[in-house]
């Protein structure tokens, strides 16, 4: 056990810190996220700068254009981004989900075609998993991915929902029903859909925050070439599990990063407003302690991953706890504003008002808290299945 950086890690940390210091524009520091993260040239330019510096795909193998660095470097990168309150790369779905899935299940041609442009931020990806009638129950998706009679292409018809980045995306990783008659878990087909193809319509979905951060995707007779199939027809569930595994493996660090920014801002707020109230002090101490617990739990999971290649169960509760903590933290921040908490143009410029409303989505997106508790109960604790 040694919680200090190794010499290599320390060197990498110093490099990243200096690079961010030099390259992060002041106006992007402390970026509030939300829909604003898609807008404006500054954010695209920031993503390209990150790509040019080789920070996305740190852990990707060198043969796919990555650095082949250990996972600890990824963690250091996230920590330094949080420290600088820097906005994330715009290609998170490509980097965290589509890329790893293509590396695991893609053909050589697919790897050749897509991976480099994910790393370079030239092409943006979105995810088409959830549907109006299939949220937590992915195997129940209804979007049809039907092989045309001549076998050269699929015809896709259906509707996807809660799709971040869809309005600016070039490609979508989409799971649909490949064989309506096959049994559950053998009925899905996973394809790469060109978001610029005829029949793809993206409609922004206005959320509780008033912003349209997510989208609905309507697919009408969209033609998808057969070479865009990932895995086999009917094996989409297995491919999707790879995507979700990667989402969860790297998610912990990304989430903790956003929470750390929140705790930093909370501390500033408390200092500005006078830090005398013992109750407030108790509550902010709790936020820091639990943030620290999440970070450390990520490190335990990371060590296990580096030693065995398999993520351990320790990290399975990180998203669950993070989402509930973020909801509690943002409410506390609003409370510290006192009677001005309802004002959108107060001194924090609506930052906390936005974060508090946005946080309600945290316990729903990327695995609802109810589903995550079921997963822990059944797969980690071995309790009898509830369904």
């Amino acid at each position: 056990m040694d919680l200090r950086d190794t010499p290599e890690e320390a060197q990498f940390r110093a490099e990243v810190r200096a690079w961010i210091q030099e390259n992060l524009p002041d106006e992007l520091r402390g970026h509030r996220g939300g829909a604003a993260r898609f807008e404006g040239e500054a954010l695209r330019a920031w993503s390209r700068a990150l790509s040019d510096a080789g920070y996305p795909g740190l852990t990707w193998p060198a043969e796919y254009g990555g650095r082949g660095a250990p996972y600890s470097f990824q963690a250091i990168f996230y920590e330094e981004m949080a420290r600088a309150e820097a906005p994330p790369h715009v290609g998170v779905i490509g980097l965290g989900m589509a890329g790893p899935t293509i590396m695991a299940h893609g053909t050589d041609a697919q790897k050749e075609r897509y991976l480099a442009k994910i790393l370079s931020a030239e092409e943006i990806w979105c995810q088409g998993f959830s549907e109006p009638n299939a949220g937590s129950d992915l195997a129940a998706v209804q979007t049809a991915v039907t092989l045309a009679p001549d076998g050269t292409r699929f015809i896709v018809n259906g509707q996807k929902v809660w799709s971040s980045y869809a309005h600016i995306a070039d490609f979508c990783i989409l799971v649909g029903r490949g064989d309506p008659d096959a049994p559950r878990y053998q009925n899905l087909t996973y394809v790469i859909v060109d978001m610029h193809a005829p029949g793809v319509e993206v409609r922004p979905l206005r959320q509780i925050t008033g912003e349209a951060e997510f989208n609905e995707i309507f697919l009408t007779d969209v033609e998808v070439p057969r070479e865009n199939l990932l895995g086999e027809i009917g094996q989409g569930w297995q491919v999707a599990m790879t995507t979700l595994l990667h989402e969860r493996a790297t998610l912990g660090f990304a989430l903790t990063t956003t929470l750390e920014v929140g705790v930093r801002k909370l501390f500033s707020l408390v200092r500005e407003r006078g830090a005398d109230d013992p109750l407030t002090r108790d509550r902010v101490a709790r936020e820091w302690i639990e943030l620290q617990a999440l970070k450390l739990t990520n490190y335990r999971a990371l060590t296990r991953l580096m030693q065995t290649g398999i993520p351990g169960p320790e990290g399975s509760g990180v998203k669950l706890h993070w989402s509930e903590q973020n909801q509690r933290l943002t409410k506390l921040a609003l409370e510290l504003h006192g009677p001005e908490a309802q004002l959108l143009d107060g001194e924090s410029g609506g930052y906390w008002q936005f974060q508090q409303l946005r946080s309600r989505g945290n316990t729903i997106e990327a695995g609802s808290s109810e589903v995550l508790r079921n997963i822990i109960a059944e797969r980690v604790l071995g309790l009898p299945r509830s369904r």
């Binding site: 056990m1 040694d2 919680l3 200090r4 950086d5 190794t6 890690e9 600890s72 963690a75 920590e79 420290r83 750390e260 705790v263 930093r264 501390f267 500033s268 408390v270 200092r271 830090a275 013992p278 002090r281 108790d282 902010v284 101490a285 709790r286 820091w288 302690i289 639990e290 943030l291 620290q292 617990a293 999440l294 970070k295 450390l296 739990t297 490190y299 335990r300 990371l302 060590t303 296990r304 030693q307 320790e314 399975s316 509760g317 669950l320 706890h321 109810e370 995550l372 508790r373 079921n374 822990i376 109960a377 059944e378 980690v380 604790l381 071995g382 309790l383 009898p384 299945r385 509830s386």
Partner: protein, 308 residues
């Protein structure tokens, strides 16, 4: 960065678990024979010359087994105050120690000596009726000036880290008991663990226990390394882990229903130990106040860049 125990430490954990599983109430002499009393005592004094991480492993397992002897009092509390002669007697199993904290002495009735602010006192006084009967508190007879000098001082961070590790062991055991009961107890024709009102409680205990474990090991590492963040880590770990252990027992009692509320079932003992830990040397709010002072008025910019 490497946040895992070594193979030897993992092995010690397995040995401790298996030994305590067969014999949850070993004699003091047996602990000396196992080498547990002198884990961090230098080899030339008859100890193993290891560090606090190895002791942390044992505290967790002793917590899980609800060990009732003065191991915490001797090794977790008094040890840093002792000189070479006392240490060698402790390692040999010839002397048991405790310390006076906030006017109270854990396990006063089963130790020989007590560390006080004024030196070492003979363990003479009154053992007080205590909620956790397995770790009773006592009060020394009024100071009579008859105190022997001590070579060192108590180390609050070390003690808090030890308690955090014990608390993790307790939470883990409460979770295991809850899972076992929910898997075997049937109502309405099904094991009650299929009901999410039951299983989700246990899932929450799992998540909190893992978060607490991370804090406890961090604190233990800081203590073992003499890291300057040890006071912060220990305060955070003690505050969080003790609350986690209490909540874990409360959920386990609820999952057990009526039997969990009885004297017959072991859960009440775990619950009382968890509460003992929560109360000793500062309730969680006191430690959170220390954390807040460190973060809001301390020299740092708010959050450690790295955990250490």
């Amino acid at each position: 960065m490497n946040f895992a125990f070594t193979e030897e430490q993992e092995q010690l954990k397995q040995e401790a678990r298996s030994f305590l599983g067969g014999k949850p109430e070993p004699a003091w002499r047996e602990l000396a024979e196992l080498g547990w009393l002198g884990v961090s005592v230098p080899e030339e004094l008859g100890g193993a010359g290891l560090g606090f991480l190895e002791e942390a492993v044992l505290f967790e397992e002793l917590g899980r087994a609800l060990y009732a002897g003065p191991y915490f009092a001797t090794v977790g509390l008094a040890l840093p105050a002792l000189g070479d002669e006392e240490l060698s007697r402790v390692a040999a199993g010839d002397e048991r120690w405790s310390a006076e904290i906030d006017g109270l002495v854990p396990d006063l009735g089963s130790v020989d000596w007590v560390v006080t602010d004024d030196g070492a006192a003979r363990a003479e006084g009154e053992v007080l009726p205590t909620v956790d009967e397995t770790r009773p508190l006592g009060r020394l007879v009024a100071a009579d000036g008859d105190r022997a000098p001590l070579a060192g001082t108590l180390d609050r961070s070390r003690t808090l880290a030890a308690l955090a590790c014990e608390a993790v062991g307790i939470a883990q055991k409460a979770l295991e008991l809850g899972v076992e009961y929910a898997s075997t107890r049937h109502q309405f024709g099904k094991p009650i663990g299929v009901y999410q009102a039951v299983s989700h409680k246990l899932a929450d205990t799992y998540v909190e226990t893992e978060l607490g474990r991370s804090l406890a090991y961090w604190a233990a590492w800081c203590v073992a390394e003499g890291d300057e963040e040890a006071p912060l880590a220990a305060a955070a770990a003690k505050a969080f882990c003790s609350e986690v252990a209490v909540a874990a027992c409360e959920r386990a009692i609820q999952v057990h229903g009526g039997i969990g509320f009885t004297w017959e079932h072991v859960l009440h003992r775990y619950y009382k130990r968890a509460q003992w830990i929560e109360s000793f040397w500062g309730f969680p709010a006191e430690h959170r106040a220390a954390v807040a002072a460190h973060m809001l008025e301390g020299a740092r910019d708010g959050i450690p860049v790295r955990v250490a």
